[in-house]
């Protein structure tokens, strides 16, 4: 049965296929299919050339319009620029005119002030000159009177056989110059300035019995300059507070030290074995100060030999013999150039026991009348900062870690620096 159905199916398929083939054969002569290019363009009936021409014409119109607009705008811009230029030129001209007017006014004012000042100065000088001329006339008259009196006295003296009139106080310097060297006169050696060459002029009148010749009219009435009481010719003092110069510590007048507190009592350790130098401008000490100072650690003296020995051990003075201070900078807090004093804070590296630590030391500086610079200052510091263990005896007698380090130096200027 199933096979029968399969045969029937196959026969049906074959039948349908054959029927379709037969139908295609019958109709194939009447069916023609043609495919043409640009079939879609038949939908638009506009001519592209005409459209292009139209568009070109429109563009030409636009361009013409744009050109006209641009031309107008450029004209406007040109006009505005010209107007601005004119405005600026007129403003400059106005400024120039104002400046000229101001200059003319200042010139006039200055000329007036100058004229007034010159007139005032001329009047002052004229008055002073008048006074001087008056004084000169009086002096001349007095001198003439005195010469006449002395002449009369000199003429009268031989007749009386008596010594000359004792010199007045005014004459004393003149007579001293005319006097030959006496037992009190000093003569200077090779490096010294020879004695003044001022000698009294031979007198036109007869000499006095003492042989003292005096010309009343000679300018020798000027008193002879006295030497210093130490008899040396002292150079003038050229020291000035301003200017960079080098200073050298004077050890014999300097001391550095420390104050310490202990369980038993407080004590000071100090030494004068200090040396060094520095360079600075005292009127501007903050400008590149340079220098270094060193003290011999093994010469610090506290007054007790045993304590000194222990201190030297703590300081390792046999290994690090010097306590050093190197100047790094200076900050001025006050300055009085007239009094030659200043104060400030010196910054530097303090080296103790081979260990250097930067510190700031407040100091006061002053130039004394011997032109030596005294430097005093102090700061509180902990000795442990330099790795020094505070000394202690049996845990009962101990020194505090904090000590007061101080300096009292005097330095002398060695040379001025440019």
């Amino acid at each position: 049965m199933s096979k029968l159905l399969q045969v029937i199916g196959v026969l049906a398929i074959l039948g349908f296929t054959g029927a379709g083939f037969g139908a295609w054969m019958l109709t194939k002569e009447q069916v023609h299919i043609t495919v043409e290019e640009g079939a879609g363009d038949r939908l638009s009936s506009v001519d592209p050339t005409a459209e292009l021409a139209d568009r070109f014409t429109a563009l030409q119109g636009d361009l013409r319009g744009l050109g006209q607009t641009l031309g107008k705008n450029f004209e406007l811009l040109d006009t505005a620029a010209a107007e601005r230029e004119e405005e600026a030129a007129s403003a400059r001209e106005a400024d120039r005119a104002a400046t000229r007017a101001e200059l003319a006014r200042l010139e006039q004012s200055f000329a007036g002030q100058l004229a007034r000042a010159l007139d005032s100065e001329r009047e002052r000088h004229t008055a002073a000159l008048g006074a001087l001329q008056g004084e000169l006339a009086a002096l001349r008259a007095a001198l003439a009177d005195r010469a006449a009196a002395e002449l009369a006295a000199a003429n009268a003296a031989p007749a009386e056989g008596a010594p000359s009139t004792p010199p007045t106080e005014e004459r004393a310097p003149e007579l001293a110059q005319g006097t030959p060297p006496t037992s009190g006169e000093a003569s200077q050696g090779a490096a010294a300035t020879p004695p003044s060459g001022e000698q009294a002029q031979p007198a036109p009148v007869e000499p006095t019995p003492a042989g003292e010749a005096v010309d009343p009219a000679a300018p020798a009435s000027k008193p002879r300059k006295k030497r210093s009481f130490v008899a040396f010719d002292l150079p003038s003092d050229s020291f000035t507070f301003e200017g960079r110069r080098s200073w050298e510590i004077v050890p014999s007048l300097s001391r550095v030290g420390f104050d310490a507190k202990s369980t038993l009592h407080d004590f000071t350790g100090a030494t004068q074995k200090v040396a060094g130098s520095f360079t600075a401008d005292l009127s501007a000490p903050q400008v590149d100060p340079q220098g270094a100072i060193r003290a011999e650690a093994a010469t610090l003296n506290t007054g007790l030999p045993d304590r000194d020995t222990a201190m030297y051990e703590k300081l390792e003075s046999s290994k690090h013999g010097a306590i050093t201070f190197t100047v790094l900078g200076f900050r001025s807090t006050s300055s009085d150039a007239k009094a030659m004093k200043l104060a400030g804070v010196v910054r530097g590296r303090l080296g103790i026991r081979g260990v250097e630590k930067e510190i700031e030391l407040p100091v006061r500086l002053a130039v004394d009348d011997a032109r030596r610079l005294s430097i005093e200052g102090e700061l509180v510091a902990k000795m442990s900062l330099w790795g020094i263990e505070p000394p202690s005896q049996l845990g009962m007698i101990s020194v505090q870690d904090e000590v007061k380090i101080w300096i009292a130096l005097r330095a002398r200027a060695t040379e001025a620096k440019q």
């Binding site: 003569s187 200077q188 490096a191 008899a231 001391r255 038993l264 407080d266 032109r371 102090e378």
Partner: protein
Amino acid sequence: MSARFSLMFGTFLSAASLFTSCIPSNVVAPTDRAVRVDAANAVWSKGGAADLSGYWSSRELSGPLASAVRRMHYWFEADGRFTGAALLEGPPLAFQVLSGLWSFDAEGQLLLGEDAEPARLEKSGEFLRLSGSDGVVVLEREELR
């Protein structure tokens, strides 16, 4: 117990105070830190011709002359002669030497040469002090070897 502790503590304090009082404080006062010359504390009396003889060197100079002079040396003879040398400020440092005769004026002031200003002369042990308008010079007697 408490009484015993108080007794011990009191004894300790007494001993400590006795011990500490044996070693006085030797802290230098800030005003005494600067070095002063020995002559600063000397007691001065008027000097005369008898005090001059010998060799003297300056120990301290003060006043305006100290800015010009570093050191001075004098040799005074009893017969009135003297010679001196001063190391003057430079640069360079230079010696100035002189010699002459010393005398005293009517007021008892020392004259080192006729044209020098008179100086007040004072003495104190081995020191002489000359004072004048230019300052003060403290001289210390030295032995010539």
